[in-house]
């Protein structure tokens, strides 16, 4: 197969399987949603976000690790959120802390 065509087909196939994974359960019949199932669905974001957050702080290259700066910034982020309930502030202040400390360390 010609390399360029193969690449386009690869992009197409990757796009299709990705779309399927996103669309498959995005709508479901109303009868599907029992109270139990809703309880379960309501918890899913917690698991997903936990999996996107914790390994980025504690795992690197297949080994346990801790990045003290990121850990401290995460605590700051949570505190800011608890105090002001403002995503922009929580995100901004904790990221700024990391950027400033890294910039100072580089000097």
């Amino acid at each position: 197969m010609n390399g360029d065509v193969r690449m386009l087909l690869l992009i197409l196939a990757m796009g299709i399987v990705t779309y399927i994974s996103r669309r498959a359960f995005l709508t479901l019949p109303a009868s599907f949603f029992t109270a139990r199932l809703k309880n379960g669905l309501d918890m899913i974001p917690l698991g997903i976000f936990a999996a996107l957050i914790f390994p980025s702080l504690f795992v690197k290259g297949g080994e346990w690790t801790i990045n003290p700066l990121y850990a401290a910034a995460s605590v700051v982020c949570v505190l800011v959120m608890l105090r002001w309930r403002n995503v922009f502030l929580g995100f901004g202040i904790s990221l700024l802390l990391v950027l400033v400390v890294k910039a100072l360390a580089a000097v």
Binding site: I11, A13, L26, G40, L57, R85, V87
Partner: protein, 242 residues
């Protein structure tokens, strides 16, 4: 919805997507640069960012391309890495199912981790707002594709994200959006427990499946619990049980 509200939703969507959009520019740029090194043309990497729009699997495919991996192997890896979206979509289903299917057909194209985090937060707080969802979806999508294009052109000028700590931007945003969900000791326990399990999974294999695993675990915990008191199903069961 009147036109004024519509505009306000669009603007809010843009405001909420710009901070993470900036990170998308940088990381999309890194993808564009690495794709070039893996032998993809500038156009091909932008096409991939636009039509696949799944950062982790796009990065995963690059070394496979260099190693000459099989076509279907790369497609399967993409599917497995994105299988977490099956669950994300399912957690949105109670909201999307109430609206027309064509909107779901459209938004599924844009569903990324970050789009999910931002729009889920909004849906819970302010209800289902199509204009807002569309605005966040389109802007995040464009930032990612634009970043890829710029990276494939000017990659050598990009900052090293680890040196500047930009990689923390994703952690910061997911964390900021999660705090509002931690409304009970039970939910905090699920969050921390799933985080620990996800770490264990990702120690073994860094394939994205740890996200699916943690999502399934959280679902199972929620499913096993008794339905919240006062919900219709509970009352019905109690009535049947006499």
């Amino acid at each position: 919805m009147n036109k004024q509200n519509h505009m306000a939703s669009w603007k809010q969507g843009i405001r909420d997507s710009v901070p993470i959009g900036m990170s998308f520019l940088v990381f999309g740029g890194i993808f564009g640069m690495m794709a070039l090194q893996a032998g993809m043309s500038s156009g091909e990497s932008v096409l991939m960012s636009f039509f696949v729009h799944a950062g982790s699997s796009q990065f995963a495919v690059l070394p496979m391309l260099v190693e000459g991996a099989g076509f279907w192997t790369m497609v399967m890896v993409t599917f497995f890495m994105n299988s977490r979206h099956l669950l994300m979509a399912m957690s949105l289903a109670p909201y999307y199912s109430r609206h027309n299917r064509r909107f779901a057909d459209l938004i599924a194209f844009f569903l990324s981790d970050e789009q999910y985090a931002i729009t889920y937060n909004r849906i819970r707080q302010a209800g289902f707002d199509k204009a807002y969802i569309l605005s966040v979806s389109i802007f995040l999508h464009l930032f990612w594709a634009l970043g890829t294009w710029l990276g494939s052109l000017f990659g050598q000028f990009l900052p090293d994200p680890e040196r500047f700590g930009l990689e923390f931007s994703f952690t910061a945003m997911f964390l900021a959006l999660t705090v509002g969900l931690l409304t009970s000791p039970m939910r905090i326990a699920v969050f921390v427990g799933c985080g620990a399990v996800a770490c264990l999974f990702s120690l073994v294999a860094d394939s994205g499946l740890h996200v699916l695993g943690a999502g399934l675990l959280a679902f199972a915990v929620g499913y096993m619990r008794k339905p919240a008191a006062g919900s219709r199903e509970t009352e019905e069961k109690e009535r049947v049980a006499g």
